[in-house]
């Protein structure tokens, strides 16, 4: 069709076409309003259920009781009394456990992901151990390492190691054939290929493993304290529960979850700093 024909073509759509996209009202609520609203609704329902008197207050305390206990525990922590010491012990277990899991998990991941021996001989054993209920090993760790923090660190690290191995190994396999061929043509050795190409390519996978590990390490430390005693926060929870002090159990769990959240946030922050290109890629893929 040439330009003359185009100009002479009868124009049927004279008015602008207005296209109104239908968005459900619930999806148009801003994020902050939606989150706060959901929280308020949840607490209101909780308060309502406890006021109905169908559930014993020993089993389920009212939100107000929990809120009051949060201030009690908070004061105890802020004034540096015995709870702060307990929390510090648990934090140490989590940090040591995470560091140990990172060191062991990363090393095993490189062996599994980089060597044929690792993939053939080491990986099957790792998979076999990973399928075991790892928490069941807690009594063994206590027997081997005693009631001090070492046994809790060991259990926390034991649980957190596997996702890091998987993340590292998967990351080392993430590089595509083009990148491998390119490095070959540049005469790169195995070490250079690993450090300059495979590891950076695999970082997003590694961080996925680290995020799963950061959740697991917390569970490991607390389970270790439940089963192996000691002086940590898990022990406080266990004692409060045995005294049927449920508001205290709730508030201790909430403070403990802040520690887990902080670790998760630290991993996420590190990822954003080191894998700065990945978010842009995900965004580009979504746009494309």
């Amino acid at each position: 069709m040439n330009q003359v024909e185009l100009a002479q073509a009868p124009s049927e759509a004279t008015a602008d076409t207005v296209w109104i996209e239908q968005v459900s009202w619930i999806d148009s609520i801003p994020r902050s309003v939606a989150m706060i609203g959901l929280f308020v609704a949840f607490v209101a329902l909780w308060q309502f259920l406890t006021l109905l008197d169908v559930i014993s207050p020993i089993i389920l305390p009212t939100p107000l009781e929990v809120a009051y206990d949060l201030t009690v525990v908070g004061t105890n922590l802020l004034t540096g009394q015995y709870m702060l010491g307990a929390l510090w012990i648990t934090i140490k277990e989590v940090i040591y456990g995470f560091a140990l899991a990172l060191a062991i998990g990363f090393s095993l991941g490189v062996i599994v992901g980089e060597t044929a021996f690792g993939e053939r001989a080491v990986l099957p054993y790792l998979v076999a151990i990973d399928t075991m209920p790892k928490i069941a090993f807690a009594p063994l760790f206590v027997a081997w390492l005693g009631f001090d923090i070492a046994s809790k660190v060991a259990l926390a690290a034991f649980i957190a190691t596997f996702p890091i191995v998987v993340g590292t190994a998967a990351g080392l396999h993430a590089a595509d054939d083009n990148a491998r061929m390119l490095f070959k043509t540049m005469g790169a050795g195995r070490w250079q290929t690993l450090v300059k190409m495979k590891l950076p390519t695999g970082l997003p996978h590694l961080f996925t493993g680290l995020k799963i590990a950061s959740v697991g390490v917390m569970a490991g430390a607390i389970t270790g304290e439940f089963l192996g005693g000691g002086k940590g926060f898990g022990e406080l929870i266990r004692i409060s529960a045995s005294q049927l002090n449920t508001p205290r159990v709730f508030s201790l769990i909430l403070y403990l979850s802040l520690v887990g959240l902080a670790l998760f946030a630290l991993v996420t922050w590190t990822q954003r700093r080191f894998v700065f290109w990945h978010r842009a890629e995900v965004r580009a893929a979504a746009d494309g």
Binding site: D176, N178, F183, M186, K196, P200, H278
Partner: protein
């Protein structure tokens, strides 16, 4: 086995001895065969070819005709089963810095800026310090391909065509004696691809580069090359070397001339004949 000489068209036969005399071949393959014993595949059979200095050659053939294997042998990534492979007077026994290579995908690394990607081959071979010393040269190459100002931009922000331009710079930074191009623009859209082919011609003339292109587009092979090798599959061998007598510099207008069409048709006939034998 009987040694087959590639048939030459009259034009090519007339041209080849003269080019051989005028400029010695930069890259020479003699009787190169490749058999993958494990899979019992006879990929290449008795390949003879030579690349004259500053010439642009292409190899064309259907998929599975062994052109990728040929390119890998020429890049020093795979050893031939038989035959001699000589670049700049020295046998190719592995990857070499005087071999530049480019693939269908730009394969720029997203954690490196454009200029850091370009000096990567230097960094791999000579270390970080040597790579930094070549930043000025890299900037000049970026200017050559029309990407000046993009030194510190991350590859995420480059379009497909821009990324391939950066890949050209990375290939040129080591000042290679030969450029091996493995369908370099086939992932780009048709319009960008035609334009990039003209850019490639300009860059090759500017750098006096000796280039070898693998493609499955007859048009692309003809518009870029001085000599087109036609390959047939199972086993991969060169059945014809067609010299392209279109004047330089080539332009996109030539794509619609009768002479261009006749050359393309002749090569297509040759390919079709081989493909269905």
């Amino acid at each position: 086995m009987e040694r087959r000489q590639p048939e030459l068209t009259s034009a090519a036969a007339a041209l080849r001895p003269t080019t051989r005399q005028a400029t010695p071949p930069v890259y020479q393959l003699r009787g190169v065969s490749k058999t993958y014993a494990r899979r019992n595949v006879h990929a290449l059979d008795d390949i003879d070819l030579q690349l004259a200095k500053g010439s642009f050659s292409a190899v064309i053939g259907s998929s599975g005709c062994g052109k990728s294997t040929l390119l890998k042998i020429m890049a020093g990534l795979v050893p031939p089963t038989r035959g001699s492979v000589v670049l700049a007077g020295k046998p190719v026994t592995g990857p070499r810095r005087d071999i530049g290579m480019m693939f269908q995908q730009a394969t720029l690394f997203p954690w490196r800026t454009t200029i850091e990607n370009i000096v990567l081959p230097i960094e791999i071979r000579d270390g970080r310090k040597a790579a930094r010393a070549r930043h000025d040269a890299a900037s000049q190459l970026l200017e050559l391909v029309g990407l000046n100002g993009f030194e510190h931009v991350y590859p995420n922000e480059l379009s497909g065509g821009m990324a391939q331009r950066a890949a050209i710079c990375r290939m040129l930074i080591t000042e290679p004696a030969v450029l091996l191009l493995d369908e370099p623009f086939s992932a780009l859209d048709e319009l960008t691809r035609e334009f990039m082919n003209m850019e490639l011609q300009r860059i090759c003339i500017d750098q006096e580069a000796t280039a070898f292109l693998v493609t499955h587009s007859i048009q692309e092979a003809v518009i870029l090359s001085d000599l087109v090798y036609v390959m047939s599959p199972r086993p991969g061998r060169i059945v014809e070397a067609v010299s392209i007598d279109l004047p330089r510099p080539r332009t996109l207008e030539m794509l619609s001339t009768a002479h261009f069409g006749a050359i393309v048709q002749a090569i297509r006939d040759r390919l079709d004949k081989e493909a269905f034998l």
